[in-house]
Symmetry: C2
Subunit: 115 residues, 2 copies
DNA sequence: GGTACACATTGACGTTCGTCGATGTTCTGT
DNA sequence: ACAGAACATCGACGAACGTCAATGTGTACC
């Protein structure tokens, strides 16, 4: 991937809404990066599962059986979601907990405000 | 593409929001299809350009010079956006006009309501 | 009818993505 | 220290994607 999506979570600078102005190439690239992280069935199911349980404290192993995917593949998807700034990662003993970053989706919804 | 996205525009049946329930595989697939249509810099710029001009009556040729892409590539992106139910297509003499489908983005924003 | 314009489709190419098995890393308990 | 558990990384493979040149399909005007 050319532009690391981690930079998004750092700067936290919101992309301009689609309706306001023509949306330059660099903003379009960044927004597309966020949406690409969402544009996968398995990752959407991961987010939905975590959100349905209170947006916190989900271990990777339970996602493995939920999705029917191998452990490396689940780890791969989780990494993408963290890089996009949608999930947060925290160790808890041997396991790792993943939670939804508060406000991350509100950001995206705001950009899509042109209906 | 396995599942045609056109079916979305026909049924108009909204996916359940991410927070409500675990989000089954088929709903996840459909939502991912919509988001995949958005997850491209050029297509975002197309939508932004159309929205900035009043969501109606944009000819493909002016998008060609805006994006700096070849004519077949622009046509390809427009087709994807129409299939995803985000753009509407209508002939006007020799040229073709593309407009933003009203309510299409509100639909997606509603699904992402868990921030 | 014939020519020119605006757009769509086809076929091909390089790149990226999702997935897996194998292996590495980090922590716990004995 | 050792064995095992939980997760991350690596390398490889097939599929899908974005892009283009070449060609096809309508539509308008003379």
């Amino acid at each position: 991937m050319a532009t690391p999506l981690i930079a998004l979570a750092e700067t936290a600078e919101p992309c301009c809404a689609l309706g306001e102005g023509p949306l330059g190439p660099e903003d379009a690239e960044r927004l597309a990066g966020q949406l690409a992280a969402l544009a996968d069935p398995m990752r959407l199911r991961v987010l939905s599962h975590i959100a349905a349980q209170g947006c916190e404290a989900v271990r990777a192993c339970e996602l493995e059986e939920l999705l029917g995917l191998s452990q490396p593949t689940v780890s791969h998807h989780l990494k993408k979601l963290v890089e996009a700034g949608l999930l947060s990662r925290s160790r808890a003993g041997r396991s790792v907990h993943y939670g939804v970053v508060p406000g991350a989706f509100a950001e995206i919804r705001r950009v899509l405000d042109l209906g």
